[in-house]
Protein backbone atom coordinates (compact mmCIF):
# COMPACT_ATOMS: atom_id res chain seq x y z
CA UNK A 1 0.00 0.00 0.00
CA UNK A 2 1.37 3.40 -0.94
CA UNK A 3 1.50 6.32 1.42
CA UNK A 4 -0.88 9.08 0.40
CA UNK A 5 1.85 11.49 -0.68
CA UNK A 6 4.40 9.08 -2.07
CA UNK A 7 4.93 9.19 -5.82
CA UNK A 8 4.13 5.95 -7.58
CA UNK A 9 6.99 3.67 -8.56
CA UNK A 10 7.73 3.37 -12.26
CA UNK A 11 6.33 -0.14 -12.18
CA UNK A 12 3.03 1.07 -10.71
CA UNK A 13 2.96 3.96 -13.18
CA UNK A 14 3.36 1.47 -16.04
CA UNK A 15 0.62 -0.74 -14.63
CA UNK A 16 -1.75 2.19 -14.33
CA UNK A 17 -0.88 3.29 -17.85
CA UNK A 18 -2.06 -0.13 -19.08
CA UNK A 19 -5.47 0.64 -17.62
CA UNK A 20 -5.56 4.08 -19.22
CA UNK A 21 -4.53 2.59 -22.56
CA UNK A 22 -7.33 0.06 -22.33
CA UNK A 23 -9.79 2.81 -21.48
CA UNK A 24 -8.70 4.88 -24.48
CA UNK A 25 -9.21 1.85 -26.72
CA UNK A 26 -12.70 1.32 -25.35
CA UNK A 27 -14.06 4.81 -25.50
CA UNK A 28 -17.72 4.80 -26.54
CA UNK A 29 -18.59 5.62 -30.11
CA UNK A 30 -21.54 8.01 -30.43
CA UNK A 31 -24.59 6.18 -31.76
CA UNK A 32 -26.21 7.20 -35.03
CA UNK A 33 -29.34 8.18 -33.13
CA UNK A 34 -27.38 10.48 -30.83
CA UNK A 35 -25.47 12.08 -33.71
CA UNK A 36 -28.79 12.56 -35.48
CA UNK A 37 -30.12 14.52 -32.52
CA UNK A 38 -26.97 16.65 -32.37
CA UNK A 39 -27.22 17.41 -36.09
CA UNK A 40 -30.93 18.12 -35.73
CA UNK A 41 -30.06 20.80 -33.20
CA UNK A 42 -27.42 22.13 -35.57
CA UNK A 43 -29.95 22.41 -38.38
CA UNK A 44 -32.49 24.10 -36.13
CA UNK A 45 -29.93 26.68 -35.05
CA UNK A 46 -28.19 27.07 -38.38
CA UNK A 47 -27.52 30.80 -38.82
CA UNK A 48 -28.98 32.26 -41.98
CA UNK A 49 -26.35 33.16 -44.56
CA UNK A 50 -25.48 36.84 -44.47
CA UNK A 51 -27.10 38.77 -47.34
CA UNK A 52 -24.84 40.46 -49.86
CA UNK A 53 -24.01 44.14 -49.45
CA UNK A 54 -26.36 44.95 -52.33
CA UNK A 55 -29.28 43.17 -50.62
CA UNK A 56 -28.47 44.90 -47.33
CA UNK A 57 -28.33 48.25 -49.17
CA UNK A 58 -31.70 47.66 -50.87
CA UNK A 59 -33.26 46.75 -47.53
CA UNK A 60 -31.77 49.84 -45.89
CA UNK A 61 -33.35 52.19 -48.44
CA UNK A 62 -36.83 50.63 -48.29
CA UNK A 63 -38.05 53.25 -45.76
CA UNK A 64 -37.34 56.03 -48.26
CA UNK A 65 -39.17 54.39 -51.13
CA UNK A 66 -36.70 51.75 -52.17
CA UNK A 67 -34.35 52.22 -55.07
CA UNK A 68 -36.59 54.68 -57.04
CA UNK A 69 -37.01 56.80 -53.93
CA UNK A 70 -33.33 56.65 -53.20
CA UNK A 71 -32.53 57.64 -56.79
CA UNK A 72 -34.85 60.64 -56.60
CA UNK A 73 -33.43 61.59 -53.23
CA UNK A 74 -29.89 61.35 -54.56
CA UNK A 75 -30.79 63.40 -57.65
CA UNK A 76 -32.42 66.05 -55.49
CA UNK A 77 -29.42 66.14 -53.23
CA UNK A 78 -27.08 66.49 -56.19
CA UNK A 79 -29.21 69.27 -57.64
CA UNK A 80 -29.28 71.02 -54.29
CA UNK A 81 -25.55 70.72 -53.94
CA UNK A 82 -25.02 72.06 -57.45
CA UNK A 83 -27.43 74.88 -56.87
CA UNK A 84 -25.78 75.77 -53.60
CA UNK A 85 -22.36 75.66 -55.12
CA UNK A 86 -23.42 77.93 -57.99
CA UNK A 87 -24.93 80.36 -55.47
CA UNK A 88 -21.73 80.70 -53.55
CA UNK A 89 -19.52 81.27 -56.61
CA UNK A 90 -21.74 83.96 -58.10
CA UNK A 91 -23.97 86.48 -56.49
CA UNK A 92 -27.67 86.37 -55.78
CA UNK A 93 -27.81 89.66 -57.59
CA UNK A 94 -27.20 87.83 -60.82
CA UNK A 95 -30.10 85.47 -60.15
CA UNK A 96 -32.43 88.27 -59.10
CA UNK A 97 -31.41 90.69 -61.85
CA UNK A 98 -34.32 89.94 -64.20
CA UNK A 99 -36.76 90.63 -61.37
CA UNK A 100 -35.02 93.71 -60.03
CA UNK A 101 -34.82 95.21 -63.48
CA UNK A 102 -38.60 95.58 -63.54
CA UNK A 103 -39.05 99.08 -62.27
CA UNK A 104 -42.62 99.78 -63.32
CA UNK A 105 -45.65 97.75 -64.17
CA UNK A 106 -48.44 99.03 -66.40
CA UNK A 107 -51.74 97.17 -65.93
CA UNK A 108 -53.04 98.21 -69.33
CA UNK A 109 -50.00 96.74 -71.02
CA UNK A 110 -50.50 93.54 -69.12
CA UNK A 111 -54.14 93.37 -70.18
CA UNK A 112 -53.08 93.86 -73.77
CA UNK A 113 -51.00 90.72 -73.47
CA UNK A 114 -54.21 88.72 -73.00
CA UNK A 115 -56.26 90.56 -75.56
CA UNK A 116 -57.73 88.77 -78.53
CA UNK A 117 -58.16 90.55 -81.81
CA UNK A 118 -61.53 92.29 -81.88
CA UNK A 119 -62.37 91.40 -78.32
CA UNK A 120 -61.59 93.79 -75.50
CA UNK A 121 -60.99 92.91 -71.91
CA UNK A 122 -64.17 94.75 -71.03
CA UNK A 123 -66.16 92.44 -73.31
CA UNK A 124 -64.80 89.45 -71.60
CA UNK A 125 -65.49 90.92 -68.21
CA UNK A 126 -69.11 91.51 -69.18
Amino acid sequence: MTHSDDPLSQKDEDALEAFFTAARANEPVPSADFLGRVLGDAQAHMPQPKPSWWTRFRRSVEPVGGLPGMTALAASAMFGLGFGYAGTSTSLDGLLEPISSVTSFNVDEAVDLFSIDGVSYDDLEG
Binding site: A18, A22, N26, P30, F34, R37, D41, P47, K50
Partner: protein
Protein backbone atom coordinates in the same frame (compact mmCIF):
# COMPACT_ATOMS: atom_id res chain seq x y z
CA UNK B 1 -8.96 9.61 -27.48
CA UNK B 2 -8.00 13.05 -28.55
CA UNK B 3 -10.91 15.38 -28.94
CA UNK B 4 -10.08 16.12 -32.52
CA UNK B 5 -7.57 14.94 -35.01
CA UNK B 6 -6.65 18.18 -36.73
CA UNK B 7 -5.37 21.55 -35.65
CA UNK B 8 -7.61 23.83 -33.66
CA UNK B 9 -7.62 26.31 -36.50
CA UNK B 10 -9.55 23.74 -38.49
CA UNK B 11 -12.26 23.68 -35.83
CA UNK B 12 -12.31 27.47 -35.86
CA UNK B 13 -12.71 27.43 -39.63
CA UNK B 14 -15.52 24.88 -39.42
CA UNK B 15 -17.33 26.99 -36.83
CA UNK B 16 -17.03 29.99 -39.15
CA UNK B 17 -18.42 27.92 -42.04
CA UNK B 18 -21.31 26.74 -39.89
CA UNK B 19 -22.01 30.35 -38.90
CA UNK B 20 -22.13 31.19 -42.60
CA UNK B 21 -24.84 28.56 -43.12
CA UNK B 22 -22.77 25.56 -44.24
CA UNK B 23 -24.57 22.40 -43.12
CA UNK B 24 -21.63 20.15 -43.98
CA UNK B 25 -19.51 22.03 -41.45
CA UNK B 26 -21.96 20.97 -38.73
CA UNK B 27 -21.52 17.33 -39.68
CA UNK B 28 -17.75 17.63 -39.58
CA UNK B 29 -17.77 19.46 -36.26
CA UNK B 30 -20.08 16.86 -34.75
CA UNK B 31 -17.85 14.04 -35.99
CA UNK B 32 -14.72 15.69 -34.60
CA UNK B 33 -15.95 17.04 -31.29
CA UNK B 34 -18.83 14.90 -30.12
CA UNK B 35 -16.92 11.68 -29.26
CA UNK B 36 -14.66 13.44 -26.77
CA UNK B 37 -17.50 15.39 -25.22
CA UNK B 38 -19.61 12.27 -24.87
CA UNK B 39 -16.72 10.29 -23.37
CA UNK B 40 -16.07 12.99 -20.80
CA UNK B 41 -19.74 13.22 -19.87
CA UNK B 42 -20.02 9.47 -19.55
CA UNK B 43 -16.92 9.29 -17.41
CA UNK B 44 -18.28 11.96 -15.11
CA UNK B 45 -21.87 10.76 -14.91
CA UNK B 46 -21.50 6.98 -15.37
CA UNK B 47 -24.79 6.98 -17.20
CA UNK B 48 -25.09 6.76 -20.97
CA UNK B 49 -28.46 8.48 -21.33
CA UNK B 50 -27.49 11.37 -19.08
CA UNK B 51 -24.13 11.66 -20.80
CA UNK B 52 -25.85 11.94 -24.18
CA UNK B 53 -28.15 14.63 -22.84
CA UNK B 54 -25.19 16.61 -21.54
CA UNK B 55 -23.16 16.15 -24.72
CA UNK B 56 -26.14 17.22 -26.82
CA UNK B 57 -26.61 20.30 -24.65
CA UNK B 58 -22.90 21.19 -24.89
CA UNK B 59 -23.00 20.90 -28.68
CA UNK B 60 -26.21 22.93 -28.78
CA UNK B 61 -24.38 25.74 -26.99
CA UNK B 62 -21.66 25.54 -29.61
CA UNK B 63 -24.23 25.88 -32.42
CA UNK B 64 -25.75 28.87 -30.68
CA UNK B 65 -22.49 30.68 -30.04
CA UNK B 66 -21.08 29.96 -33.51
CA UNK B 67 -22.09 33.32 -35.07
CA UNK B 68 -20.24 35.14 -32.28
CA UNK B 69 -17.29 32.74 -32.05
CA UNK B 70 -13.96 34.55 -31.98
CA UNK B 71 -11.39 32.41 -33.75
CA UNK B 72 -8.15 32.01 -31.86
CA UNK B 73 -9.51 33.26 -28.59
CA UNK B 74 -10.28 29.84 -27.10
CA UNK B 75 -9.78 26.35 -28.43
CA UNK B 76 -13.17 24.94 -29.37
CA UNK B 77 -12.34 21.66 -27.63
CA UNK B 78 -11.27 23.42 -24.43
CA UNK B 79 -14.40 25.55 -24.49
CA UNK B 80 -16.60 22.50 -25.04
CA UNK B 81 -14.93 20.50 -22.26
CA UNK B 82 -15.45 23.38 -19.90
CA UNK B 83 -19.14 23.58 -20.79
CA UNK B 84 -19.45 19.81 -20.47
CA UNK B 85 -17.74 19.64 -17.09
CA UNK B 86 -19.96 22.44 -15.78
CA UNK B 87 -23.08 20.67 -17.01
CA UNK B 88 -21.88 17.44 -15.39
CA UNK B 89 -21.18 19.24 -12.12
CA UNK B 90 -24.72 20.62 -12.16
CA UNK B 91 -26.16 17.16 -12.72
CA UNK B 92 -24.03 15.58 -10.00
CA UNK B 93 -25.07 18.32 -7.59
CA UNK B 94 -28.71 17.67 -8.36
CA UNK B 95 -28.16 13.96 -7.83
CA UNK B 96 -26.64 14.60 -4.44
CA UNK B 97 -29.47 16.89 -3.45
CA UNK B 98 -32.03 14.27 -4.44
CA UNK B 99 -30.11 11.37 -2.92
CA UNK B 100 -29.52 9.64 -6.23
CA UNK B 101 -25.75 9.43 -6.00
CA UNK B 102 -26.06 5.70 -5.44
CA UNK B 103 -26.53 5.27 -9.20
CA UNK B 104 -22.90 6.31 -9.60
CA UNK B 105 -21.89 2.77 -10.42
CA UNK B 106 -21.56 2.35 -14.17
CA UNK B 107 -24.52 0.54 -15.66
CA UNK B 108 -23.51 0.24 -19.25
CA UNK B 109 -20.12 -1.38 -18.88
CA UNK B 110 -19.93 -5.06 -19.49
CA UNK B 111 -18.92 -6.87 -16.27
CA UNK B 112 -15.49 -8.39 -16.16
CA UNK B 113 -15.50 -12.01 -17.19
CA UNK B 114 -12.71 -14.51 -17.52
CA UNK B 115 -13.34 -14.94 -21.22
CA UNK B 116 -13.81 -11.22 -21.96
CA UNK B 117 -11.16 -9.39 -23.83
CA UNK B 118 -8.55 -8.27 -21.38
CA UNK B 119 -8.57 -4.68 -22.50
CA UNK B 120 -12.30 -4.50 -21.91
CA UNK B 121 -11.79 -5.88 -18.44
CA UNK B 122 -9.12 -3.32 -17.70
CA UNK B 123 -11.22 -0.50 -19.12
CA UNK B 124 -14.20 -1.63 -17.06
CA UNK B 125 -12.06 -1.91 -13.92
CA UNK B 126 -10.71 1.58 -14.49
CA UNK B 127 -14.20 2.95 -15.07
CA UNK B 128 -15.39 1.43 -11.82
CA UNK B 129 -12.37 2.73 -9.92
CA UNK B 130 -12.66 6.21 -11.42
CA UNK B 131 -16.33 6.40 -10.52
CA UNK B 132 -15.23 6.23 -6.89
CA UNK B 133 -12.88 9.20 -7.20
CA UNK B 134 -13.97 12.64 -6.07
CA UNK B 135 -15.56 14.55 -8.94
CA UNK B 136 -12.70 16.92 -9.68
CA UNK B 137 -10.06 14.21 -9.49
CA UNK B 138 -12.13 12.15 -11.93
CA UNK B 139 -12.43 15.08 -14.31
CA UNK B 140 -8.72 15.94 -14.22
CA UNK B 141 -7.68 12.31 -14.61
CA UNK B 142 -9.95 11.70 -17.57
CA UNK B 143 -8.74 14.83 -19.33
CA UNK B 144 -5.08 14.12 -18.62
CA UNK B 145 -4.75 10.37 -19.01
CA UNK B 146 -7.59 9.35 -21.30
CA UNK B 147 -8.24 12.38 -23.46
CA UNK B 148 -4.63 13.51 -23.50
CA UNK B 149 -5.10 17.17 -22.61
CA UNK B 150 -2.11 19.10 -21.32
CA UNK B 151 -2.07 20.31 -17.72
CA UNK B 152 -2.37 23.87 -19.03
CA UNK B 153 -5.53 23.00 -20.96
CA UNK B 154 -6.98 21.20 -17.95
CA UNK B 155 -6.24 24.20 -15.76
CA UNK B 156 -8.15 26.35 -18.24
CA UNK B 157 -11.07 23.93 -18.41
CA UNK B 158 -11.29 23.59 -14.63
CA UNK B 159 -10.42 27.20 -13.89
CA UNK B 160 -7.62 26.26 -11.50
CA UNK B 161 -3.83 26.56 -11.48
CA UNK B 162 -1.55 24.07 -13.20
CA UNK B 163 -0.22 23.11 -9.74
CA UNK B 164 -3.75 22.31 -8.64
CA UNK B 165 -4.18 20.08 -11.69
CA UNK B 166 -0.95 18.25 -10.87
CA UNK B 167 -2.13 17.77 -7.32
CA UNK B 168 -5.53 16.46 -8.44
CA UNK B 169 -4.09 13.99 -10.92
CA UNK B 170 -1.38 12.89 -8.48
CA UNK B 171 -3.88 12.10 -5.76
CA UNK B 172 -6.18 10.41 -8.25
CA UNK B 173 -3.42 8.17 -9.53
CA UNK B 174 -2.46 7.10 -6.04
CA UNK B 175 -6.10 6.31 -5.27
CA UNK B 176 -6.49 4.40 -8.53
CA UNK B 177 -3.31 2.47 -7.86
CA UNK B 178 -4.59 1.38 -4.48
CA UNK B 179 -7.85 0.17 -6.08
CA UNK B 180 -6.52 -1.35 -9.29
CA UNK B 181 -3.06 -2.71 -8.68
CA UNK B 182 -4.20 -5.46 -6.34
CA UNK B 183 -6.12 -6.77 -9.37
CA UNK B 184 -3.15 -6.87 -11.72
CA UNK B 185 -2.93 -10.66 -11.67
CA UNK B 186 -6.55 -11.00 -12.64
CA UNK B 187 -6.19 -8.41 -15.36
CA UNK B 188 -3.13 -9.92 -16.97
CA UNK B 189 -0.50 -7.53 -15.66
CA UNK B 190 2.83 -8.78 -14.38
CA UNK B 191 3.38 -8.37 -10.69
Amino acid sequence: MALDAGPEQEDDALIARFAAGDQSAARMLAARLTPGVLALARRMLSDQAEAEDVAQEAMLRLWKIAPDWEAGRAKPSTWLYRVTSNLCTDRLRRRRSTGLDEIDEPTDEKPSAVDAMITQDRAAALTTAMSKLPERQRLATHLRHIDGCSNIEIAEIMDVSVEAVESLTGRAKRALASMLLPQRDKLGLDT
